[in-house]
Symmetry: C2
Amino acid sequence: MNKKAVVLLSGGIDSSTTLSIAKAEGFDLYALSFDYEQRHSRELKSAEMVAGAIGVKKHLIINFEMNQIGLSALTSDIEVPKSQISNLKSQIPVTYVPARNTIFLSMALAWAETLEAADIFIGANAVDYSGYPDCRPEYLRAFEEMANLATKVSVEGRLRFRINAPLLYMTKAEIIKRGIEAGLDYSLTWSCYDPQPLDSRFKIQDSRPNLAPCKKCDSCIFRARGFKEAGIDDPLLSPFEQSG
Amino acid sequence: MNKKAVVLLSGGIDSSTTLSIAKAEGFDLYALSFDYEQRHSRELKSAEMVAGAIGVKKHLIINFEMNQIGLSALTSDIEVPKSQISNLKSQIPVTYVPARNTIFLSMALAWAETLEAADIFIGANAVDYSGYPDCRPEYLRAFEEMANLATKVSVEGRLRFRINAPLLYMTKAEIIKRGIEAGLDYSLTWSCYDPQPLDSRFKIQDSRPNLAPCKKCDSCIFRARGFKEAGIDDPLLSPFEQSG
């Protein structure tokens, strides 16, 4: 029997690559996504497509009302900033969502305990987005320590939880190369915080929503830079580029 | 301006007493409850009544689908055990819910960061219910440490989160005496895991649901023992006792 892993999956590049790495490492996969009243649910659609393509035992999408307890540009009416990347080294981005990874990892921990899965995977990255406090190695270590004091299976000595963050020290270009190596189709992923209705000229021919990335938000810019540095064309953009 | 505190509130004796203690300590109160598909919502009604009686700035009830990720007698179809107390010292009760306090504290942390409230209160108790791993002091310390690495306000040095568990070393009798001292009306609280439809003879005269405690589940037995040891009649039971 394979080992089980719970993998946090947003549908973006990092979490999708993480899922493909866990697959390559031989885990039975249990993907966990959240519908927390994001401005758009386009990335959840990508999470479903990626989970289907990689092949997971189960994909769970949990609904909860994040808006009530935390505010950020991703969940509220604050305008998504364009091209704030130059500020990222000196401050925490406004797209930070209070305690988001802690909430996500807590739910992953509950599911992992129920499944008796020792391994939890998260696509945290401390290089490109170093501004997020809950993507740093010292945070992840503290969460792991807490998790092993929190749970019945660990306190009884039956399981020791590991928080795996295989992308932690990779650049975006390295992440993309690693995902392609693992067979991930990046046209299924989604990064844009601010999707735009798509001109009918570019209508996508499959079941995907007719939306295009804005190419201006931080997340689009990081994605474009990553593909450029990896020397690879972003397959998500190619239908529009070719038609346009 | 008063200090702010986020207080986890289930509507039971421990969390209601914790709320009354935080009130007595002069905090502005933000009560946080969860609707996670409990078998009954009777205790949420008590949470609302207690929050109203004590006087909170805001009471938030968050819905989420706990059933999907964790199974226990409180959220699934496993039968609630009767009189399992004698086993509690040697094993973790079947009423344990995977990572429940970790999920609750994570959501409290998110709200606390949004409010810039340094203090989070939880009614964890390591005496009567020593079987729960996530009620132990070492767990609460680990969560606090993780929380201060997780959040923007703490990493920027503007706030240091404290997890307050004022009941940690109190017996149930001591908890009840402390709550009465703080002016808490225990007839508003609820403990029973398995509420029974109430005989029409005992119809309650106010807006409360027409339900009576079963008096047989662990939680009813702990409650009864606490009131007995405190030398106080449980005001929740008195209408039924008098009529019966």
